[in-house]
C-alpha cells in the first residue's frame, strides 16, 4: 500500500527531493545574487562581511536546532543574546576567559529557566519563551537604555575572522558529533517524533527537554561573546528580532517546525547561509528595507510551500 503511494507521489513530494531543496535553494539564491550584483557578492571583501554576519546566528541556530528538533520553539534567543552580551562586556574588563564563561553560563541559566518551566509546569515552550523573552528583553533594556555598555578593548582586539570561524566550526562539529554519534541526537529526535512512545522506550524525556533548552541558552551565550567581539558595545537593540531570524533561517534550511525524525543537521548551515546571503544581496542591490522585507517574505513563502511536510500538522509543544 505504502509502496504504491510512494510510486504515485510526484517527485516534488518525495522526501529525497525535499531534503535536497534547501541546497538547491541556497545555490539558486547565491547564483541569482551573483548574477544580479555582477559577481560583487563574491568579492573577498564582501564575502568577509557576509561571513561576519553568519557566525553568531549560526551558533545560535545550532542550539535552537536542538530545541526545534524536540518540536518545541524558543523565542528567547534575542533577549538571551542581549543579556549575555552585557555580561560578557562587563566581565571582559576582568578577564577574557571569564567573560566567555560568564556569557555561556548566563545563557545556560536562561535556558534552564525556560526548560524548567516548560518541563515542570507542562507549559508550552511557546508561551514560556514569550514570557522570558519579554522578561530578559526588559532586563537588557534596563541596563542599556541610558548608555550603551562598552566592552573592553582587549576583547575587541580579538576580532579576527580566524577566531570566529574557529569557534563557529568547533560548535558545529561538536554539535554534529553529538547529534549524529551519541544517544543525544537520537533521544532528541525521538521526543520530537513521539514523546509518549519515546518515554515508553526508556528515554528520559524531561531531562532531554531540559538539557536541550539549556544547550540552546548556552550556545546563545557563546554567540554573545562572538557578537561582542564584533560590535564592541551593547545597546538596547542587541539581538532584536534574532528569534524570528533564526526561526526563518531554520525553516528555510528545511527544518520541519514540528521537529522529529526528518530534521537534518545541514538545516542549520544551509538555512543560516541562505538567510544571510539573501539579506546581504538585497542590501547590496540597494533595495529599501521595506522592499527587502517584502522580497524576504515572498522567498520564504515559496520555500515553505515547497518544503513543508504536510503530513505532520500538529501543535508546537
Amino acid at each position: 500500500m505504502a509502496g504504491n503511494d510512494e510510486m504515485k507521489q510526484s517527485i516534488f513530494e518525495s522526501d529525497t527531493f525535499k531534503g535536497l531543496l534547501p541546497f538547491i535553494g541556497l545555490v539558486v539564491i547565491l547564483g541569482a545574487m551573483y548574477w544580479l550584483t555582477d559577481g560583487r557578492i563574491m568579492q573577498p571583501k564582501r564575502l568577509r562581511l557576509l561571513l561576519s554576519q553568519v557566525y553568531y546566528p549560526m551558533i545560535v541556530a545550532t542550539g535552537v536546532f536542538f530545541v526545534m528538533t524536540l518540536g518545541s520553539i524558543d523565542f528567547t534567543e534575542g533577549s538571551t543574546l542581549g543579556v549575555a552580551s552585557i555580561v560578557v562586556s562587563v566581565l571582559s574588563f576582568h578577564s577574557i576567559p571569564l567573560a566567555i564563561l560568564g556569557g555561556i553560563l548566563t545563557g545556560a541559566a536562561i535556558g534552564a529557566v525556560n526548560g524548567f518551566f516548560h518541563v515542570k509546569f507542562r507549559l508550552q515552550s511557546f508561551i514560556v519563551t514569550i514570557c522570558t523573552m519579554y522578561l530578559f528583553r526588559g532586563v537588557c533594556a534596563y541596563f542599556t537604555t541610558e548608555t550603551a555598555i562598552p566592552a573592553s578593548a582587549a576583547i575587541k582586539a580579538l576580532d579576527s575572522d580566524n577566531l570566529k570561524i574557529g569557534i563557529t566550526v568547533a560548535v558545529l562539529v561538536v554539535a554534529w558529533f553529538m547529534f549524529r554519534f551519541t544517544r543525544i541526537g537520537n533521544d532528541v529526535k525521538a521526543v520530537g517524533s513521539g514523546e509518549t512512545a519515546a518515554k515508553f522506550s526508556g528515554v528520559r524525556t524531561d531531562r532531554v527537554k531540559f538539557l536541550a533548552f539549556v544547550a540552546a541558552g548556552a550556545l546563545t551565550g557563546l554567540a554573545a561573546f562572538v557578537n561582542v567581539i564584533k560590535v564592541g558595545s551593547i545597546t538596547a537593540t542587541a539581538g532584536n528580532q534574532l528569534e524570528t531570524q533564526i526561526l526563518i533561517s531554520l525553516v528555510l534550511g528545511g527544518l520541519p517546525i514540528t521537529g522529529g525524525a526528518k530534521v537534518r543537521f545541514s538545516n542549520i548551515v544551509v538555512g543560516t547561509l541562505m538567510y544571510t546571503v539573501l539579506n546581504n544581496g538585497l542590501v547590496m542591490l540597494g533595495f529599501e528595507s521595506a522592499t527587502q522585507q517584502l522580497i524576504k517574505g515572498i522567498v520564504f513563502l515559496i520555500f515553505v510551500a515547497l518544503t513543508i511536510d504536510r503530513k505532520a500538522l500538529k501543535v508546537i509543544k
Binding site: M1, N4, D5, K8
Partner: protein, 500 residues
C-alpha cells in the same frame, strides 16, 4: 424455608445529590433463609443495607419488621430492633479480647463491676456454638480474620438478632474459613434467623443462599429462588447486558422486494481501489470481510466521500448523488463511523452533548444553530437509548471508555436518521458487553429500515449479523456470499485463496 416475611421493604427510594441511589426498591426477607443481595458496584446494595440498619435515611418507602413499621435512626437502634450488621471491614477493637468485643457496650454487670467470668463464659459458649474452640480472653488481633469475622457474628447473634446482615464477609477468608462461615450461617438459618448475604463470589451464592435479589443502578431487577437462575443468566441480570444476546442476535429480515438504498457502480479512487460495485437494499446489513488493507476501509471511505471517488457513480435511494466530501454524504443521508475511533471519530475534548449534536448541526450549517436545550435533549435521548454510562451529557467524551465512545459516535449518526450507515470496525477494542450492544443496535436499525454496511475483522460477528457478506482481497471484491449459509471456514478460505 417457607417462613413468613420478617422484613419487608417497599418502594425504598434514596437520593444523593445528583443520583438516585435506590429507586423504588422492594425487598423481603423470610424467617430462616439466607438471602443474597447482588449487583455490580454502585448498584445500590450497600445503600440498601445502610437503609435497613439506619445509616442512611430513606427518602420514601416503608420498612416493616415483623409487620410493624420501623424507622431506625442508626445502627444502634437497628440493633435493638434485632437487626445486626457485620461489615466488610470488621468494626471491632483488635486490642480487646474476643469476649470483650462480643459484649462491648452491654457488659453484664455485677455489683457495679463488670462480671468478667460471666463475659468469658458466655463468650465461650457462643463460640463453641460455631465449633470454635478458642481462648476468648485473648485479644482479638491474635486470631485470624475468620475468627474476627465469627466474633462479629457472635456479637450479632448474642444481641438476639432476628436479622443478620453480612456485607462481603468472605472477601478476606480462605477456602476453609469460608466453609466454616457457611456452616455457621446455615446453623443460624436453621435456628430461624434471616440472613442477608452480600458477596462478589457467584460460587458462594450458589453454595449457601436460598434466594437472591438483584439490583442494578438502584433499581430492583428481581428476586429469584436459587435454582431458578443459572450463573450466566445471573451475570446477565446483574450487568443488564444480555451476555446471551450475542447468541440470540437475529440478522435483519430483508423482504425480497426491498428497494435498493445504496448503489455504487465502478467506483474507484484512482490509486487504491479500482472498479468497485455494490448494492445495498433497504434494511439490509452487508458485511465487509477481508484482511486489513484489503480495501474494506478504502471502499467505505469512498462511499462517504472521505476520499474522493474519481470515477464511478453512487446512487442513494435511487437518486444519483455526487459525493465529494463527507458533507455531501451527510446531505445524502449517509453516516459513517470510522475505523480509528480516536483519530477520526471522537472529539475528545468536547462534551458528549457536543459530540452527539455535531453531525446534525453540520448538516444544518452553522447559521442554524440548535439551542442548548435542544442539544441537551438530543444528547440525553441517545444517552438513555444507547445506555451510555455517564453522569450527564457534559462529560468530556475523551474520558469515556472505548465502548461508550463508540456509542457516542453511533449516537451522533443515529441523530441524523441516516438511510445508509457505514460502520468500520465498530466493535474493535471494546469489551464484550458493549460489543453485543453495538451489534444489537446495528440490527435494530436495520429493522427500522436503515441499510448498514458493517466492516469487521471478527468473522464470527460478521457472519452472525450480515445478510450478505462482501469479501475483499487485494483491494477488490472477490466474492459475495450469503450471510445465512456461509461459514467462517468458507470466508477464511476465500480470504486466503481468492474466490474458488
Amino acid at each position: 424455608m417457607t417462613g413468613k416475611n420478617i422484613l419487608e421493604m417497599r418502594g425504598i427510594t434514596i437520593e444523593f445529590p445528583g443520583v438516585k441511589a435506590l429507586d423504588g426498591v422492594d425487598f423481603s426477607l423470610r424467617e430462616g433463609e439466607i438471602h443474597s443481595l447482588l449487583g455490580e458496584n454502585g448498584a445500590g446494595k450497600s445503600t440498601l443495607i445502610k437503609c435497613i440498619n439506619g445509616v442512611n435515611r430513606k427518602d420514601s418507602g416503608t420498612i416493616l419488621l415483623d409487620g410493624r413499621e420501623i424507622n431506625p435512626s442508626g445502627p444502634y437502634e437497628a440493633m435493638t430492633l434485632g437487626i445486626s450488621t457485620v461489615f466488610q471491614e470488621v468494626n471491632l477493637c483488635p486490642n480487646l479480647s474476643v469476649a470483650e468485643n462480643i459484649f462491648v457496650g452491654r457488659q453484664p454487670m455485677k455489683h457495679g463491676r463488670i462480671n468478667w467470668s460471666e463475659i468469658n463464659r458466655r463468650a465461650e459458649e457462643l463460640m463453641s456454638r460455631f465449633h470454635l474452640d478458642i481462648d476468648v480472653a485473648r485479644p482479638l488481633s491474635y486470631y485470624s480474620t475468620a475468627v474476627q469475622q465469627m466474633t462479629a457474628i457472635a456479637r450479632a447473634v448474642d444481641v438476639q438478632a432476628k436479622i443478620l446482615i453480612l456485607d462481603e464477609p468472605t472477601s478476606s477468608l480462605d477456602e476453609n474459613e469460608v466453609q466454616l462461615l457457611f456452616s455457621v450461617m446455615r446453623q443460624l438459618r436453621d435456628s430461624g434467623m434471616g440472613i442477608i448475604f452480600i458477596t462478589h463470589f457467584l460460587d458462594q451464592i450458589y453454595a449457601v443462599s436460598d434466594r437472591m435479589t438483584i439490583l442494578r443502578n438502584g433499581h430492583l431487577v428481581g428476586t429469584y429462588n436459587i435454582n431458578e437462575l443459572g450463573k450466566v443468566e445471573l451475570v446477565t441480570k446483574m450487568v443488564g447486558k444480555d451476555m446471551d444476546v450475542i447468541f440470540s442476535l437475529k440478522r435483519a429480515n430483508v423482504p425480497e422486494d426491498s428497494p435498493v438504498m445504496l448503489k455504487a457502480e465502478n467506483i474507484g479512487d484512482g490509486s487504491r481501489i479500482d472498479d468497485m460495485s455494490l448494492t445495498l437494499r433497504k434494511g439490509e446489513l452487508v458485511g465487509f470481510a477481508g484482511l486489513l488493507g484489503s480495501g474494506r476501509t478504502e471502499t467505505a471511505e469512498m462511499l462517504f466521500g472521505a476520499t474522493r471517488a474519481v470515477h464511478g457513480e453512487i446512487f442513494v435511494d435511487g437518486e444519483k448523488v455526487s459525493i465529494r466530501t463527507p458533507f455531501d454524504a451527510i446531505q445524502a443521508e449517509e453516516a459513517f463511523c470510522p475505523e480509528d475511533r480516536k483519530r477520526d471519530g471522537i472529539i475528545g475534548d468536547l462534551s458528549i452533548r457536543e459530540n452527539i449534536m455535531l453531525a446534525v448541526q453540520s448538516r444544518k450549517g452553522f447559521m442554524h444553530p440548535m439551542t442548548r436545550q435542544e442539544q441537551t435533549e438530543l444528547a440525553d435521548k441517545y444517552i438513555a437509548l444507547l445506555g451510555i454510562a455517564t453522569p450527564d451529557c457534559e462529560k468530556k467524551a475523551g474520558e469515556l471508555s472505548g465502548g461508550n465512545q463508540q456509542k457516542v459516535i453511533l449516537a451522533r449518526w443515529m441523530a441524523t436518521s441516516p438511510k445508509v450507515l457505514i460502520l468500520d470496525e465498530p466493535t474493535r477494542g471494546i469489551d464484550i458487553g458493549a460489543k453485543a450492544e453495538i451489534q444489537r443496535l446495528m440490527l435494530e436499525m436495520c429493522g427500522e429500515g436503515v441499510s448498514v454496511i458493517f466492516i469487521s475483522s471478527e468473522l464470527d460477528e460478521i457472519i452472525r449479523c450480515s445478510n450478505r457478506i462482501i469479501i475483499m482481497r487485494d483491494r477488490a471484491k472477490v466474492a459475495e456470499v450469503d450471510g445465512a449459509s456461509c461459514t467462517q471456514q468458507d470466508i477464511l478460505r476465500i480470504i486466503a485463496e481468492g474466490a474458488a
